[in-house]
């Protein structure tokens, strides 16, 4: 078991610094990597490394887990073909770059590693008003399952988290009245808190879970 995993968080989501704080409270060492064309999040993050444009992995002594985020639902357009294709391509190439860099690092340090991709819950069952999110998420899932089969021989596991609404970012699904009623009756589908996501990432980063090529739904039973 990796007690203090080194976790690299990759993405543009505003809540990543808060997530990094939570992971560090549980004993992880975290670093953030943002693409060159995004702004760095505001707020000071003591004892953390922030890199932009260049892979953060080059400054880490090792990487036990890399968590790749692509779930900016509110920026997705409903059905804009060009946007769907462009966003999917962008996500796939970013994940490709991330995996290449971190796998190289893991192999250099001979570290059993974890690759975790976080996408939107719409990826697994589709969602009418989230065609782009779903398509991007589907690409991540398809890619990660192939990666799991390729990288298993190097003791690198690859899993996906399909994330439902997050309460911290006032994340809401556009539910129909019937869906609202059904969820209210069942008590399911409540938004997650960041601590829920952090706990799952911590669990996956510590390599004791024996999960590989799996899709974990953190959405309080919204999709089963």
């Amino acid at each position: 078991m990796v007690n203090q995993p080194h976790i690299l968080l990759v993405g543009k989501e505003d809540y990543l610094p808060s997530l990094a704080e939570l992971l560090m409270q549980d004993g992880a060492k975290t670093s953030l990597w943002h693409a060159a064309d995004t702004q760095l999040p505001t707020g000071h993050l003591p004892d953390k490394q922030m890199e932009s444009a260049t892979p953060a992995s080059s400054s880490l002594e090792k990487i036990d887990a890399v968590v790749f985020f692509d779930r900016i639902r509110e920026q997705r357009s409903a059905f804009d073909s060009d946007a769907i294709i462009e966003q999917t391509l962008s996500t796939v190439t970013q994940l490709l770059t991330t995996v290449r860099n971190t796998v190289t690092k893991m192999l250099e340090t001979k570290t059993p590693g974890q690759i975790i991709a976080v996408c939107d819950t719409s990826a697994i069952a589709g969602r009418r008003d989230q065609v782009a999110s779903a398509t991007v998420g589907g690409a991540l899932i398809g890619m990660c399952k192939s990666l799991a089969k390729e990288l298993g021989r190097y003791h690198i596991s690859v899993n996906v988290i399909c994330l439902g609404p997050l309460s911290e970012i006032n994340d809401k699904l556009n539910l129909t009245p019937t869906e609202t009623m059904m969820l209210k009756a069942s008590g399911l589908g409540k938004p997650a808190e960041l601590t829920h996501l952090a706990k799952n990432i911590q669990h996956l980063a510590q390599s004791e879970h024996w999960l590989n090529g799996q899709v974990l739904h953190i959405n309080d039973g919204l999709v089963m």
Binding site: I84, L96, R127, R128, A139, M143, K149
Partner: protein, 257 residues
């Protein structure tokens, strides 16, 4: 005699159905085309550059049953041109069958952005663009069908095929989403995910891997293009109208979940 041939109506369970079949010159595309011709559909046979199989298919069909349609599908403009031509030839597109794609297979450590772009442009972009144009027909089309031929790679992955897995996974998720959109028109949208099919992309795989795959498949033989045509034909029919948003895997029992 000439008049009889000219005015003879198609017979078969797909008589009257107007189909745009992309990638008709590929192995799977040809098999689907043969089946749909036999079932009486009227078909626009799209191809990119390999015209010879299209010429052979035209010989199988009655007059005015099939129409060759050459064009690229990588950009919106190109795809729209192809779709518009299909609409003109057929008088409308009832069924869109996407049977296109290519693969850049390699270790993830050796793949690059260009590989990603080519793989997504050839597998995902045509599906997305053509679906959009299909939807623009709206209520002019009854019992519309969108059928995307994907791959089990999009469902369960395959080593050294991460980009192909990404592209087919994207197609699957896209199809599930638009199934919800098209439902209010009375249409359906589904995926068919075959195992690695004899010929075509399978020829790029090492023979020992193909043999291994056949051996772990309960039905111990490779998947053939003809294994896919029955389900494709059925999904074109009106009676398949309650099947939507699904991924039908044709894998000989390799994937049972």
């Amino acid at each position: 005699m000439f008049t009889f041939l000219h005015t003879r109506k198609q017979q078969g369970k797909l008589a009257g159905r107007r189909v745009l079949l992309t990638g008709a010159s590929g192995n799977i595309g040809q098999a689907i085309a043969r089946r749909l011709i036999h079932e009486g559909a009227t078909i626009a046979l799209h191809y990119h550059s390999n015209v010879e199989p299209i010429n052979q298919l035209c010989k199988l069909a009655a007059r005015q049953q099939v129409f060759p349609l050459q064009g690229s599908l990588h950009t919106g403009q190109q795809a729209r041109q192809v779709f518009t031509q299909a609409q003109k030839k057929l008088g409308g597109v009832d069924v869109l069958i996407n049977c296109i794609g290519t693969s850049r297979d390699n270790s993830v450590l050796l793949l690059n952005d260009e590989d990603a772009e080519i793989t997504l442009q050839s597998n995902l972009a045509p599906v997305v663009y053509l679906s959009e144009y299909m939807l623009e027909q709206g209520t002019d089309i009854e019992h519309g069908r969108i059928i995307n031929i994907t791959s089990i790679t999009g469902l369960v992955g395959q080593p050294m095929r991460s980009l192909y897995g990404a592209a087919k996974g994207a197609v699957i998720a896209f199809t599930k989403s638009i199934a919800r959109d098209v439902a209010e028109l009375g249409w359906t949208a589904n995926c068919i995910a075959p195992q690695v099919v004899e010929g075509g992309l399978a020829d790029q795989m090492k023979s020992q891997i193909q043999t291994m795959l056949a051996n772990v498949t309960p039905i111990k033989r490779p998947c053939t293009p003809d294994d896919i045509t029955g389900m494709t034909s059925y999904l074109c029919t009106q009676e398949s109208g309650y099947i939507t948003g699904t991924v039908l895997n044709i894998s000989g029992g390799l994937i049972t979940w």
